[in-house]
């Protein structure tokens, strides 16, 4: 058992625990914080996998911007917990069993049937360097130019949409 493996396992447990915490915590704020923890852990994985740029994006965009926005909305709405629900009593057990089956399926699949046999290489210096980043930028603005532009349009649309939805000046139909 190598050190990376140990680190991986520990971080995995943290990530899973954070995810479960997010899902099960009563308080929405806790959920959001658990999710931030999870995102951070995952960012570490990205580093381990030799993707520093993505790791940084993860921290800044996800854990930073997006989650802050979430927290902001949670605070704004002021709803921190809901009373236990009477509706859909069978929803939970069913969800658990489906989730369990899905996990079993995927683990079974990955272990026994479809092995992408390769081993993850250690994050060497070369990968996590500026050269690497430059390389990536080149790819992105050459090969992936179109998606990039589409993404920009997408963000614009999202912005317009958000404004349309929250702009109250022009009241719609009664």
């Amino acid at each position: 058992m190598t050190s990376e493996l140990i680190v991986f396992l520990v971080l995995s447990l943290v990530a899973i625990a954070a995810a479960l915490g997010m899902v099960f915590s009563r308080n929405a704020v806790y959920s959001a914080l658990f999710l931030v923890l999870n995102f951070t852990t995952v960012a570490v994985f990205y580093l381990l996998l030799g993707a520093p740029f993505i790791a940084m994006s993860q921290i800044t965009v996800y854990a930073g911007a997006i989650m802050v926005l979430f927290l902001f909305v949670i605070m704004l709405l002021g709803v921190d917990s809901l009373a236990p629900s009477k509706s859909l009593p069978w929803q939970k057990p069913l969800a658990f069993s489906l989730a369990f089956i899905l996990v079993v399926e995927s683990v079974y699949l990955l272990i026994s049937r479809a092995q992408p046999n390769m081993v993850v290489t250690a994050p060497d210096i070369a990968v996590n360097s500026m050269d690497n980043l430059r390389e990536m930028a080149m790819t992105m603005f050459n090969q992936f130019l179109l998606p990039f532009e589409v993404t920009s349009v997408l963000l614009l649309v999202a912005m317009v949409g958000a404004i349309v939805l929250t702009n109250r000046e022009k009241v719609g139909r009664k």
Binding site: Q143, V153, G172
Partner: protein, 480 residues
């Protein structure tokens, strides 16, 4: 980046730029004259349509094989743009009447259309993914456009949450496909898959992707948002969604599966078979007990997704596929035309206070507005697949293709469920003709134009369907 690259996305670019310009221009258009935005949007669509037509017959890839221009894309794009035009026409009076008149309505539609068109042209899963989002996000907003109307907002939230949920599956599916093949390019996947890499991972990735598309086209069991969203959204949005999103979804489904995944056809075919059968059965049966016309049309759109899915079932069979897909496209056209017509009639009857949406509100329509009733009857007959409408020809082609593919059982299910469908479609006709009532309608010229155009097209095209079918076949031949 070459000229050629830009040529491939020329119509898209024009439309996007036009939408951005309108976004700004809209600020200067006075509140009571938002019709100008509508006309300008339509103008943009018309120009784009012209440009797209010039692309017919060309075959190019662009942006490092991210997008393609081919007959298939052109066919779908023309269909989408036509839908867009109809969508504007039927919305023009409606949003005014409902007090929703805001320029963003049309602009969001244009953006959504950009996403749809991009979807048809995509030849890389990245583009597919982004296009899917680009078409969806404006639709989420449009669904909730009638805020603070609770139903509309609820529709928006439901659509959004479930859409995002299905996006999760799409992302994970693409990840698995990438894991199996090392690429996201459709042709790359095809080559990798042909070389026999880890096909199960690929299959599962493809299946998850199918879930995403299934959600967009409202295939059972991914359909459940549809009735709620169609009912809650402003009717004009439902009309646009039920045609445009469906066309785009099917276009992507076809493009992705036919070009990237022929090697795993056996498994996917089995899944598609079940999906198609379930969709037809559940869609039609659920529609029976509906009393709200919007919900009924929603279930009807689910059911028709099932029929179109049938065309995809034999997608691994190289001999049958061309006619099968062509039949599917043909059916898509016949569905879209009748669908727009039917929704337009619903719009004509809808009142500003949200009344007039029960099927019983159609009672007596034939006596008071015979032309409208005849048009609605034509649409209903087309949905059932009855002469003399395009729907019959569509079903005929479709069933023939399915039988030729060796799926007679599926064809029989299709037949029996269309029998079931006759039951609820006829109820509309019964209400219009055989019950007494005193309906009032909104007489809006563009709406009437939409109804008349679609009704005439539904009947007239059924007598000369050949050119349309030839077009569809040619489109498919280029693709395959």
């Amino acid at each position: 980046m070459t000229q050629l690259d830009f040529y491939t996305i020329l119509p898209l670019t024009v439309l996007t730029v036009w939408a951005c310009v309108l976004l700004l221009a809209d600020l200067f258009i006075p509140k009571d004259r938002k019709g100008i935005t509508a006309f300008l949007s339509a103008l943009g669509l018309a120009v784009t349509l012209g440009l797209t037509i010039t692309q017919v017959g060309h075959e190019n890839t662009g942006f490092n094989n991210m997008v393609v221009v081919d007959g298939f894309a052109a066919f779908i794009n023309i269909l989408l743009l036509a839908s867009g035009l109809l969508g504007i026409a039927l919305a023009y009076g409606y949003i005014k009447r409902m007090g929703l008149e805001r320029g963003e309505y049309y602009i969001l539609m244009l953006f959504s259309l950009v996403g749809m068109m991009l979807m048809a042209q995509a030849s890389d899963l990245i583009i597919v993914f982004l296009a899917l989002e680009l078409l969806s996000i404006p639709l989420y907003v449009l669904a909730a456009f009638a805020r603070p109307n609770l139903q509309s907002e609820e529709a928006g939230v439901k659509y959004f949450l479930l859409g995002a949920f299905s996006t999760g599956f799409v992302v994970y599916g693409i990840a698995l496909i990438y894991g199996a093949t090392g690429t996201t390019s459709l042709s790359g996947i095809f080559f990798a898959a042909s070389n026999g890499t880890s096909s199960l991972l690929l299959t599962i990735g493809a299946a998850l992707l199918l879930v995403g598309f299934g959600f967009k086209v409202a295939a059972v069991p991914f359909h459940m948002w549809t009735p709620d969203v169609y009912q809650g959204s402003p009717t004009a949005v439902s009309a646009f969604m039920s045609s445009g999103a469906k066309i785009a979804g099917f276009a992507a489904l076809l493009r992705v599966f036919a070009t990237a995944f022929p090697s795993i056809a056996i498994d996917i075919t089995a899944i598609l078979w079940v999906l198609a059968a379930l969709t037809m059965i559940v869609g039609n049966i659920s529609a029976i007990s509906q009393t709200n016309i919007k919900r009924m049309l929603a279930y009807s759109s689910i059911a028709h997704a099932g029929y179109i899915l049938m065309a995809f079932v034999p997608y691994g069979n190289k001999e049958v596929l061309p006619i099968s897909i062509a039949a599917g496209l043909f059916y898509l056209v016949s569905y879209a035309v009748a669908n727009f017509g039917a929704w337009s009639v619903v719009i004509a009857l809808e009142k500003a206070d949200g009344k007039g949406l029960e099927i019983s509100d159609f009672a007596g329509l034939a006596r008071k507005y015979p032309a409208l009733a005849i048009a609605m009857t034509v649409f209903m007959l087309s949905f059932i697949g009855f002469p003399p409408t395009l729907g019959l020809v569509g079903k005929f082609y479709l069933f023939r293709a399915v039988i030729a593919g060796g799926y007679t059982g599926l064809a029989i299910i299709g037949g029996v469920t269309s029998l079931v469908s006759a039951y609820y479609y006829l109820r509309v006709v019964v209400n219009m003709y055989m019950h007494e009532g005193d309906p009032t309608i909104e007489n809006e010229e563009w709406l009437n134009f939409t109804i008349a155009t679609t009704a005439i097209a539904t009947v007239a095209l059924s007598f000369v369907p050949q050119w349309l079918f030839v077009m569809a076949s040619t489109a498919v031949l280029r693709l395959l």
